[in-house]
Symmetry: C2
Subunit: 413 residues, 2 copies
C-alpha cells in the first residue's frame, strides 16, 4: 500500500479562499509524490466564535446537543470548500462529515470521546486516487446525534484518523514547531527537531501551547508520529515521537513558564482522615482545576496544605475555603497572587543526576526565591514570583545549554 | 392521536435572533392549543447566497456533491438555533437534519427528488411532547451524501413531512396570502380565502410567486392542505386545497401578469417530420425553457413556428436559431422583445362558456393588441406589449369582477 499522510490545518490556515487554495496546493504536492493524502480541517478563522455568538442571541443556556448540531456546521463549510478548491485545481477530492466517515463518539456533547472509526469509506476513496477531506473536531453518536470533541478536538481527529489508517500526521499551524522555550521570552531558544510524547505532554501542560494534551496522549497511545510545522513555509518543524534511547542522552529538552498562578495555603488543618479529601472535593465541585498540591508533615496534629491554581479562579477558591474555615474552627486560609511556575523537562532526568541542583543553583545566582518545588519523573517545577518569571526561564534555559551553541554540545543535531 | 401542524418559516422569517424567537413563540402557541408541532426552516436571511459566494471564491465550477455538502449547513444553523430558542423559552424541542430525520432522496445533487421519509423518529419526539424542528431544502442519499431539493425546496419539505405525518401545512412567509392579482399593480385586488391546487399551479407558473410549483404538485398528489399566511400577523391567509364543487361556481379566481418575455418566430420552416423536434431539441440542449409554442398550418409546405421565452434567454436563443437557419436554407428567424403575458385562471372555465370572449372584449376596450393566445382547461393567456401589461391586468381583473365588491357578487366569501 501507498504511504499515507494525514494533514491537519487549523482555523487560521483555512481562514479565507486564498488560504484554502494554499492548503490545497500543499495536499496536491504530497499527492504528486505518490502518497495517499487525507486532510483534517478546522472551521474557518473565527467561525466557531461567531456561531457561539449566534447561540447566545437566542438562549442564555443553549442545550449542548443543539450547540453541537450548530458548531459542526463550521467544519462542514471548510471541508466542502476544500473539496471544491482541489477539484478546481484538477485533483479529484471528496469531503466527509463525521457521520459520513464513521467517526463514532459517546454522547457527552461538547466534549465527546471517540469510540471507534470506520475508515473503510476513507480508504476506498483513497484507493480511487482521491484526496479525502474530513471534518475535524466532530463526531456522531450511535443514534446519529452530532457531537464535538471539545478543546483541541481537531488535533484529536488528526491523530485518530492517522492511527486508524496507519499514517503519519502533519499538523499545520501558525507556529513552526516546538521550541526549547518560548522564543518571545528567550531569544536564543531553538526549535526542537524531535521530542517524545511524554516531554511534549509536560511542556504542553506547562504552557507551551502547541498541541492539546488530549491529542498527544492519543498519539502516544497509538504510537502515531506528529510533525508540527508552519503552514507558511516548507521547512521542517518538530516531530513528536515515541522516546528513543538517543533522547535520554539529553538531560533537559525544554523549559517552560506558566504565568498567572495563585497559591492558597490552609493552615492549622486538623490531621484527621478525610479532611484533605473534603478540601479538594469542595474545590472540584466548584469546577476548580488545582495545579500542584503540597502537604507538610503534621506538627503536632495540625497540617498545612498548599496548592496552586489559575489566578482567575482565586475568588471562587477563596469562597470555598472561607466556608471550610468556618466549619473547622482554627483553620486559616491564606492566598498569594502573582506567581508563576518555571519548569525544566527532559527524558534524561530519569538517568542523569544533579538536575535539580543545577536548576536551583541557576535560580539562586539570579537572586530568585523559590516558593515551592514539585517534580515528576521527567520534570522539575519551581513556583516563583511572576515578576521574575522571564528571567528565571532564561537562566534555566542557559543552565542546561538549551540555546544556540549550548544545545549542540549535548550531541543532538 | 393529536392534531399535527407542520409550520414552515422562510429565510426572512428567521433572519435574526429576534425573528427566530418570534417564530418560536408561534410554535409554542400552537403547542399550547394541544397540537403536535413540527417546524420546517430555511436558512437565515441571505445565508445561502453567502455560501454560494464562498464557493465561487475557491472554484469556478464547484462539484454539485460538494455544493450540497456546503449549502445544507445553512438550514442546520437555523434549526439548532430554533431548538435553543424554544428550550430557552421553556419548551422541550429537538432539531433534525435530513439525515437524522430519514429524508432520503435520489442522488441528483442540487435538485434531488424525495424517495421516502421515515417519520418514526419525528413521531417519537412528538409523542414525548417535544416540538420537532427539521431542516428544509435538504435530503440525504442512501449512501449518506447530502443533497438539496432545488428551488422551492423548503416548501417541498413542508408538504412531504405533512403528507407523511398526516398533518396540515402552515406556510409562513412575507406575504399574507394569494391575491386575485398582484396588489402592487391592481389596487383593489383581494386575498383569496381558498384556492384549488390546479388554479394555484397556473397562477404560480404565471408569475404569482408565492409557492413553488413543485410543492403545490406534491400537495395535490398527497392532498395536503396548505395555509399560506404572513409571519407578521395572526390573520388568516389563503388555503390551498383540493377543488370543491363550490369553487366551480366562480368562473375566474385570479389574474396574473408575467413580464420580460420575448417571442421568437421561425419562418419558412420546411414542413418535414422531425424539424420542429430538431428546433426544440437544440433549445433544450442549450438549457432554454420555452414558454408557449404556436405552430401555424403549413402554407404550402412551409410552416411558421413561434414560441415565447424569458427575455434574458434571448441572446442564446438567437444563437441557436441562427445556426438552424444556416443549416436549413430559406429559414428565417425573427425576435420581438418587451412582451408580457396576461392570464385569467379559474376552475369555473371548465363549465362556464364565454370566458375568452369576455377577456378579449376587455382588452379590446382598452386598446390592447393581442399578439398570441394560449389556453389550458382552466386558464386563458394573451401575449401583449409589455408597456400595456399593468393596464391589461387591471382590465381583466375588473372584467371578471375579481376586485372588492365585484368578487362578492360571485357568492364566495
Amino acid at each position: 500500500m501507498r504511504d499515507t499522510v494525514v494533514m491537519k490545518f487549523g482555523g487560521t490556515s483555512v481562514a479565507d479562499g486564498e488560504k484554502i487554495r494554499q492548503a490545497a496546493g500543499r495536499a496536491i504536492r504530497a499527492r504528486r509524490q505518490g502518497r495517499h493524502v487525507v486532510m483534517v480541517l478546522s472551521a474557518m478563522g473565527h467561525t466557531t466564535d461567531e456561531l457561539v455568538d449566534l447561540a447566545r442571541q437566542v438562549s442564555d443556556n443553549p442545550p449542548k446537543r443543539e450547540m453541537d448540531q450548530l458548531l459542526v456546521t463550521g467544519e462542514q463549510v471548510t471541508i466542502s470548500l476544500m473539496a471544491m478548491a482541489l477539484e478546481g485545481m484538477g485533483v479529484p477530492a471528496i469531503s466527509f462529515t463525521a457521520g459520513q466517515m464513521g467517526m463514532v463518539t459517546d454522547d457527552a456533547h461538547t466534549k465527546a470521546k471517540i469510540k471507534r472509526i470506520d475508515v473503510r469509506r476513507i480508504r476506498r476513496q483513497l484507493d480511487e486516487g482521491k484526496i479525502v477531506i474530513v471534518a475535524g473536531f466532530q463526531g456522531v453518536t450511535e443514534d446519529g446525534h452530532m457531537t464535538t470533541l471539545g478543546r483541541g478536538g481537531s488535533n484529536v481527529t488528526l491523530v485518530a484518523i492517522a492511527a486508524a489508517l496507519g499514517g503519519e500526521c502533519e499538523n499545520y499551524t501558525d507556529v513552526d514547531g516546538v521550541y526549547t522555550a518560548d522564543p518571545r521570552i528567550v531569544p536564543n531558544a531553538r526549535r526542537i527537531a524531535r521530542i517524545s510524547y511524554d516531554e511534549m505532554l509536560e511542556l504542553a501542560s506547562l504552557g507551551a501551547n502547541v498541541l492539546h494534551n488530549r491529542a498527544v496522549e492519543f498519539a502516544k497511545k497509538y504510537d502515531v508520529p506528529i510533525h508540527v510545522r508552519s503552514s507558511l513555509s516548507n521547512r521542517k518543524g518538530t516531530w513528536i515521537v515515541s522516546q528513543s534511547q538517543d533522547m535520554e542522552r539529553i538531560v533537559v529538552s525544554g523549559a517552560a513558564l506558566k504565568k498567572d498562578l495563585a497559591a492558597v495555603t490552609l493552615k492549622n488543618v486538623p490531621d484527621r482522615p478525610g479532611l484533605a479529601a473534603e478540601v479538594f472535593h469542595s474545590l472540584a465541585a466548584a469546577g476548580i482545576v488545582v495545579d500542584d498540591i503540597i502537604q507538610t508533615e503534621p506538627v503536632p496534629k495540625l497540617a498545612t496544605i498548599s496548592f496552586t491554581i489559575e489566578l482567575s479562579d482565586l475568588p471562587e477558591v477563596e469562597a470555598v475555603c472561607d466556608k471550610l474555615c468556618r466549619k473547622h474552627t482554627g483553620m486559616v486560609c491564606e492566598a498569594r497572587k502573582d506567581l508563576a511556575k518555571v519548569s525544566a523537562v527532559g527524558l534524561g532526568m530519569r538517568i542523569h543526576t544533579g538536575v535539580a541542583e543545577r536548576m536551583f543553583a541557576a535560580l539562586a545566582k539570579g537572586g530568585i526565591n523559590i516558593r515551592n518545588i514539585t517534580t515528576s519523573e521527567i520534570k522539575i517545577s519551581c513556583i516563583i514570583d511572576q515578576a521574575q518569571g522571564p528571567e528565571a526561564l532564561r537562566l534555566i534555559h542557559d543552565a542546561f545549554g538549551l540555546g544556540g551553541k549550548g544545545r549542540k554540545k549535548t550531541g543532538r543535531k
